[in-house]
């Protein structure tokens, strides 16, 4: 573990990407295959499935620290990371007898924790804490509690592995996708010469769009002739890839999770696709009247096993907007215009097969697949007018894709743009604050905002982003001096500061005190000019919930921004 712990320290102690790549590449040069495989596993943000719950670890920490429970909790809130708190409180300086390799640590010590009960786990785990140096204690506990988060992106990692193996980065990136077992065999396959054979289940790296800030009047200048672009609606669902290979189906979220089990109707539909097909698209909740609010889709995301009633209440469909693999051939280097033609072909063929199946066997697949239709784009002005209609159609705006562009990797500016409509805004008063985690530890960055319900302030949203560092610093100082009450790590503050919040959607909710839930709330600006009494009322916020006009399949399109990970959803 020492070599890996050293690598972690090096990565953590530099902000230079070149230095990070060099450090990882040097590690791979020395590491045995099994260690290298686990290192890739952790550096790519993967984590061990929970072995010991955080609550249990805290309980053991409190017992071992010889400190009152409240003080340990307060310390944890200040440090902002459990593994770090444990290492800071319990590790012994410079004691390092650790000779086990990374792979042995994981396979012989960490993973076997799964099979045993808490009473057996405890002496093992606590011995690791108190019997090691800070560095070893930290890294072991980090692996035990979750992802490493050491400022290494997938692309950086791929660069390092590519450098070590003497291969193209794109090949490595592709081989890193999807589910794999971190063992020597995987590592050898990862660095093996490029044989052009993608593993069966593996999706392609997603192409992402950049936000378009320009005004519609200037689009002629910034984007050029409108005829060079494909325009589609920007939907709010789950961006995903539907992979059909070797008689099997794999449905991937952008967060690289296999989510096929959660969407059995889509997996069933995919059986009608020709082998060697990979579709890029969006999962959307869609009933007879058209697209349903995102909140409905959330009911599906939350369940691994979907019951019959939920399937009926919230039926989903896959809206296809790109074809990445056709009869087993990788199409990503083809221009969008070519891919689009083949996509239309593929979807039409599949739909006719499904229609036959519907007649023969009552199969409902034909309702589970749709083609993202393109918008007529005669000029930018017409498109801008169409875009104004977005909210009523239940979409977030437009997507613009260059017709001659290949399917890129990651967020490349210039070929895919998302042209979103302005968000909803409300003015709300800050009433609670909490310190953040990681690099925001010990700094009040997580705020709760409220609006007026009569003469009461009711919380409507939590927001973490939108202020610059100087503003956060000022607010942090102010919060410390104007705390009213403390509830564990949360502080209530005097309701003085008003902020304009922006959010993407709003729905009624029975789970929230205010009766509403907002989607992706963030701070758009600090309203120094407003007093608390000027903040919005709950009533005025509720008026934003207008029944959207259902789009009923008129236009269907690509969405870059739907998160594969539902947990990012922020509502109060």
């Amino acid at each position: 573990m020492k070599a890996f712990s050293q690598l972690y320290q090096t990565l953590d102690q530099t902000t230079s990407t070149n230095a990070k790549v060099a450090a990882m590449s040097a590690y791979f040069d020395e590491a045995p295959a099994r260690d290298a495989a686990w290192a890739v596993y952790f550096l790519s943000g993967r984590r061990l499935k929970r072995l010991v719950g955080a609550a249990r670890l805290r309980e053991w920490l409190i017992d071992m620290s010889d400190l009152p429970a409240w003080l340990v909790e307060e310390t944890y809130a200040s440090v902002g990371d459990l593994a770090e708190t444990i290492a800071l409180l319990l590790s012994r300086p410079k004691l390092d007898l650790d000779t086990l390799s990374l792979a042995d640590w994981v396979e012989q010590r960490l993973l076997p924790l799964r099979g045993i009960d808490a009473e057996e786990q405890r002496p093992q785990v606590t011995a690791w804490w108190s019997g090691q140096s800070y560095e070893s204690c930290y890294i072991v506990t980090k692996l035990l509690t979750g992802a490493l988060r050491v400022g290494v992106s997938q692309t950086l990692l791929a660069r390092a592995v590519a450098e070590h193996a003497g291969l193209e980065r794109a090949v490595i990136l592709h081989r890193l996708m999807g589910e794999w077992t971190p063992d020597a065999e995987y590592w050898q396959a990862l660095i093996a010469a490029d044989d052009g054979q993608a593993a069966l289940s593996r999706p392609f790296p997603f192409c992402l769009a950049a936000p378009l800030e320009a005004e519609s009047q200037t689009l002629d200048e910034t984007l050029g002739d409108v005829s060079a672009w494909l325009a589609e609606w920007k939907w709010d669902g789950i961006r995903s890839q539907l992979v059909r290979r070797g008689g099997e189906t794999f449905l991937w979220s952008r967060g690289e999770e296999l989510i096929g089990e959660r969407f059995p109707e889509i997996t069933a539909m995919a059986e009608h696709l020709v082998d060697g097909t990979v579709l890029d698209g969006e999962i959307l909740p869609w009933n007879a009247e058209g697209v349903m609010p995102f909140a409905e889709l959330q009911r599906r995301i939350g369940r691994k096993q979907v019951g019959k009633k939920l399937l009926k209440d919230v039926p989903c469909r896959f809206l296809a907007y790109d074809l990445l693999e056709h009869h087993g051939e990788d199409l990503r280097d083809q221009p969008l215009s070519v891919r689009r033609t083949l996509l239309e072909d593929t979807v039409r063929t599949a739909l006719s097969v499904m229609a036959d199946a519907a007649v023969r066997a009552g199969d409902e697949s034909s309702a589970r697949l749709a083609l993202s239709s393109t918008l007529p784009s005669l000029n930018w002005k017409d498109l801008a007018t169409l875009r104004e209609d977005s909210r009523a159609r239940g979409v977030e705006g437009l997507m613009l894709k260059s017709l001659d562009s290949p399917y890129g990797t990651g967020r490349k500016r210039g070929t895919w743009w998302k042209w979103k409509i302005d968000p909803y805004t409300v003015d709300a008063v800050m009433i609670y604050a909490q310190a953040g985690h990681g690099r925001r530890a010990n700094l009040f960055t997580d705020y709760t905002f409220a609006v007026w319900d009569g003469d009461r302030l009711v919380p409507v949203a939590k927001a973490y982003s939108g202020l610059d560092n100087a503003e956060i610093g000022r607010l942090d100082k102010w919060i410390r001096r104007h705390t009213r009450e403390r509830f564990g790590p949360v502080r209530s503050v005097e309701p003085v500061h008003v902020f304009e919040l922006a959010f993407e959607g709003i729905n009624l909710s029975t789970r929230h005190k205010s009766g509403i839930a907002v989607r992706f709330p963030r701070i758009s600006r600090w309203r120094h000019d407003l007093a608390p009494k000027d903040a919005d009322s709950l009533e005025s916020v509720k008026r934003l919930i207008a029944a959207p006009v259902r789009s009923g399949g008129t236009g269907e399109s690509a969405d870059e921004d739907s998160k594969g990970r539902p947990s990012r959803q922020q509502v109060t």
């Binding site: 003080l71 307060e74 902002g80 925001r440 942090d476 410390r480």
Partner: protein, 343 residues
Amino acid sequence: MPPSDSSQALIEATDRGLVCAAGGFVIDPWKQTSVALITHAHADHARRVADIYYAAESAVPLLRRRLGEDIDVRGVRFGESLSFNDTRVSFHPAGHVLGSAQIRVEHRDDVWVFTGDFKRDHDPSCEAFELVPCDTLITEATFALPVYRWEPGAVVAREIFDWWQQMKTAERPAVLFAYSLGKAQRVLAELTAFTDEEVFLHGAVYPLTEIYREAGIRMLPVRPVDLSDKEADYRGRLVIAPPGASGSAWMRRFRNASTGFCSGWMRVRGNRRRRGYDRGFVLSDHADWPGLLTTIEECGARHVLTTHGQAAALVRYLREKGMDAAELTTRFSAEGESDGDSA
């Protein structure tokens, strides 16, 4: 908040500073006053608001540099006893920076000590902390959480030196951010154990370092960064600058520099990551958690009052241990603020 069994608090925190009515003086005042007793020369403790200042002898040149050559300041020898009305006052080393003092005030049978900022770890650049028995202790509490435990300064200096040597190999400048009064000189003194190479200093650090040298502190040779010299080559060199210089135009001359920051706050990873420094060196001039507890216990105080820092946690902890403890509200740098003058 006065201790419960005393009819009148000898020292009270007011909006003027720590006021001793019986002695007719204010300790580390922040508003206009006639007589000020100054614990040390950092900006949150030494302001230009008094007619007459008393401070430890070795703090006098630093105070003049910070507040102006024309202030009326009287140097006091450590341990020397002064009378203010019917109080007896003496200054004792606090081990925080050069000339930093704890102030002991005795009135009838009641002895109070204000620690100012202090640390108990060895520091070759200032006088060593002295334990002063008292009835009531007013202590700082900047790092009053159990995660704050320091390694000896020499160990941290070794880390700084190793980093500097790595940058020498990589042919990059090593820019170390450290508070210009105290921390910078402590690093320069500790590094004499490993090298005698010249170090470059930011303009804010240089004059204070010269005052330390005149006081007899042994440090590495230094040279101010020459602003007019566009050709200067800083690759492989150590440069010490105040944290405020980070991200400023001044930094542009150190192309491809690796940056480090010396502070107790660097004990927590998030604090370092947030500021974007490459390296964080855990070197503090304040007492760590064990240092605070040991001092409170050893001075024998029956009452403990805390000033700036994570005071609430310390007070609750002491109360649960059965001690009489309370929090004072002061204007010394507040809880968790990581940008204080000296942390």
